[in-house]
């Protein structure tokens, strides 16, 4: 499932941080640890952390990006970063 939603249209998906994932703020962004899969993932920008934390409050990724004040020109890079979080199970579809 995860690779399907990662492939296309992620901007229009309803996503959330996986309930078994903990985020630890760091100067570069955050560390994410998935207690289920034991995977450790780096979120490499504070904006990415803010967007990831807010996903559950929004119907789609694009509305989360807009609410966080992310310029549309940066959306493609956020979409790519988010799809890798989906692939690692840190973020999943609601």
């Amino acid at each position: 499932m995860s690779t399907d939603i990662a492939s296309a249209g992620l901007l229009q998906r309803a996503l959330e941080l996986h309930p078994q994932v903990a985020l630890r703020p760091e100067p570069f962004g955050a560390l994410a640890y998935h207690y289920g899969t034991r995977r450790l993932v780096f979120l490499k920008h504070p904006d990415m952390v803010a967007v990831t934390r807010s996903l559950a409050e929004h119907d789609t990724l694009s509305s989360a990006l807009r609410a966080a004040g992310i310029a549309e020109s940066r959306w493609p890079s956020f979409e790519r970063a988010m799809s890798s979080l989906v692939e690692s199970g840190v973020v999943h579809e609601r």
Binding site: A22, R24, P27, F28, G29, L31, Y35, R38, F42
Partner: protein
Amino acid sequence: MSAESLVEQLKTGLDAPICLTWELTYACNLQCVHCLSSSGRRDPRELSTAEAHRVIDELRSIQVFYVNIGGGEPMLRRDFFDIVEYSVSSGIGVKFSTNGAYIDDASARRLASLDYLDIQISVDGADEATNDAVRGSGSWALARSAMDRLADAGFGPFKISVVATRHNVSQLDRFKQLADSYGAQLRLTRLRPSGRGVDAWDDLHLTAQQQRDVYAWLLDHGDSVLTGDSFFHLNALGDPLPGLNMCGAGRVVCLIDPIGDVYACPFVIHDDFRAGNVRDAGGFTEVWRSSELFAELRQPQSAGACASCGSFDACQGGCMAAKFFTGLPLDGPDPECVTGHGAAALSVPVRIAPRPAHDHSRLAAHR
């Protein structure tokens, strides 16, 4: 942010370690010839249960996600399950290393009932003869019996942990088959000349050809084999292996030893790399954040003799512990430098290798 700049940032240190090793006891039923902590006898200064709980409380408050528990043989502590259960229920996952001797049916079931617990059973050969030559007579049978019991108890995918040596490196496929037969995951790590490994190093460390073989094998197996990112010195051979290409000592990793001493990494139990003790005022957090040693390790490090080598960006000069305990300068090549600079450095006429700080070997008095 690129992977390179992330690594650059990690080298300046974090407010809390990413990966922390905690050796619970120096007591061990085995006497492996390469034991990184020279374990055997319990140290009377070992942390009490209450002190262990305080360490866990601290780790929770600074958001350490998991601890790697080892020893010695951690299951020899009477409060082993108490400590593990306290940690897991505090939201700190436990990955623990054991030789398996104390995993009976009851403890296998108890271990299987815990969330956020990973087990690594150590073996150093894919058959009894190869394994027992390093880990001692009977150790293969104990480890296999533990694996069988964990499988019977429905533990799920445990890990089989192997230190790559000159004598087992031809068995990598067999280790993988052994792991696969249990639905387990293989973990292969680098031998360091630490602890009793100082004396075993010359006999056990890989030849130059074997290093190339391990590198190729690891590249072939990608993320399916865990390495603790311990082979980054091999990255000078070509494409990087999976994982962070850096020495994390005192920057993102450290060791708490059984008596509460905090060292830069599990492989440098020596006064030169002791940052403080969890019993000091301010506890572990103060040691991690304020020790002079760790502050120094978080400064940009000199490439020294490696600065002129075109491979330095790939290998980062290798492993600090491997250099230290073979008597090589820290700002020079790793003793197993794949371009051969380490071998040249080792051949100097007078080379004084430091001895580890403690020796808890059961035969130490007779040496």
